[in-house]
Symmetry: C2
Subunit: 312 residues, 2 copies
């Protein structure tokens, strides 16, 4: 840091003054006011061909996704995102049909990063800009602050806890994985209303991510098939995929909704006075194992979301 | 974060407890104790084929360089590095002759990152591990703290200031660019001894980087040819490169020594009681322009390090 590429100067000219940012792009490091509470740090790298197809989605949407997935990790701990740095490898060669020249690609990418950063008051404080003959690579590191209640981890769920998700699941590949809103505000409102015992954002798929909570919390979970909110995209995809909408909701990745565990008392409170729209109770924590309850019967649920589809 | 790849678990098992790290790899974010002073943040991305040749240097040295270049940016502001996160794209296909399998590559890479992080008390607190069919990409974000004297920037040099470097320059491509020691300790000792008015680490080459200081400080600089410390590597390279050792010292990048400006009084103090070995006074700041003084004559120095070579 800073980068070799002209867009750093372009970036600097367009970065609004933020009192938390004492030194921005143009020095060797950014300098930020020290956070009042625990500092949250997360990083995610996105690659063309893996996390998006640049020639189809364009650099602006790729930039949005790169910022949003990082803010989603801050949301998963009920933190407030504050700042981010970005390192990129820009492709010099066309990787698809409609690849823009590298300078305009950098600027569109930056605008996409800023679309999401601005929406959450996140200062883009610096980066490293490289170019090469490989595909576009974007690595974002987001910083945040825990609330006074502390960061929410994955390891606090207990048997008997109620499990919730913040929105409908499945079929993200049809577009949601690029255009989702990280659940930053929702996490803060929930954290204020109740004691979130364990939480994460759904990136690998509901079943796989719930399994992460179970492993970290040393408990199990029973999901209720009829209670799982299924997205329109999951239904649309199921028409051609050979999978049921429920299978998509359980197994597809990159929903970026939050799944979390609370005590039954807090669960009742959330049902009575939901602090955010779209909340759905999807099951309860158990002693061990991952289970799906359907038509009064209980079947084992694989962490991949795959399950024995009797009757379907 | 966290990554999908098995080495995250491997990493977690090998990450020693650090009281500053409240939550490490395995949750959605790392959580760190809030720094007492200004938080420094820097990021640098390294790519196989650009910043190193993986098939020649191996993943351990690549990992060392990736960490060291980031700590060098913290050093450039006289900060204390504290923590780092790493995101990687691991190559699934062989990119050279001696490419190790991806899991062993990840582990060697991690050991290289740790070699340098451990040497400076930097906690490796998390990352994002991906694999793909492209070349190895490593992105490190390092965090640090400013000293009570504040971060040293690039914009405080004044005409009349003395210019110093912390070590010999040039020919880094022969190996130093992979195995250098980031000047973290040196920067702290210098910052304690004198008032560093402007500083950076030499990554683009002495002339180019000095030009950055001049631009940010709105001043010029006159370098004294005979005073510039020339590395053995610069001399070795000059035997076959068609350039003089001095040209290598002025123009080669990735020395990762510090160049800085101090008042003449502080400069005299540094010469009298050098707080670190290897310090060399290389010139003075002037009103404007970048100049090289040789044999009593002054010639214009290009920011690229190129200069009119009369008599050579």
């Amino acid at each position: 840091m800073p980068g070799e590429f002209e867009y750093i100067a372009w970036l600097r000219a367009r970065t609004p003054a933020d009192p938390r940012v004492r030194i921005g792009p143009g020095d060797d490091c950014a300098a930020l006011a020290p956070p009042a509470r625990e500092l949250l740090v997360t990083t995610d790298m996105l690659m063309d061909g893996t996390d998006f197809v640049l020639s189809e989605v364009g650099p602006r949407r790729a930039g949005r996704k790169a910022m949003a997935v990082n803010l989603s990790d801050i949301a998963a701990m009920a933190g407030t995102p504050t700042a981010a740095v970005v390192s990129v490898a820009l492709p010099l060669l066309a990787s698809g049909g409609r690849q823009p020249p590298v300078a305009s690609l950098a600027q569109e990418l930056y605008l996409g990063l800023r679309d999401v950063a601005d929406a959450f008051g996140v200062a883009l404080v610096g980066g490293d800009t490289n170019s090469w003959n490989g595909p576009l690579v974007i690595s974002v590191t987001a910083l945040g602050e825990a609330t006074p209640r502390g960061p929410v981890r994955r390891n606090g769920a207990r048997p008997g806890d109620w499990l919730f998700v913040t929105g409908p699941l499945g079929g993200s590949i049809l577009g949601h994985h690029l255009d989702f809103t990280p659940r930053v505000r929702e996490a803060l409102l929930l954290h204020e209303a109740v004691n979130l015992r364990a939480m994460l954002d759904i990136s690998d798929g509901l079943a796989a991510d719930l399994n992460h909570i179970c492993e970290e919390s040393a408990c199990g979970a029973v999901l209720v098939a009829d209670a799982i909110p299924i997205s329109d995209a999951a239904r649309a995809l199921s028409r051609t995929s050979g999978k049921t909408p429920l299978q998509h909701a359980l197994g597809d990745g990159e929903d970026f909704e939050l799944v979390f565990a609370v005590s039954p008392e807090d669960g009742e409170k959330l049902l009575r006075e939901p602090p955010i729209p779209g909340l759905a109770k999807i099951g309860t924590c158990s002693e061990s194992g991952l289970w799906l309850e359907r038509d009064g019967a209980r079947e084992r649920l694989e962490p991949t979301g795959w399950f024995h589809a009797f009757g379907e």
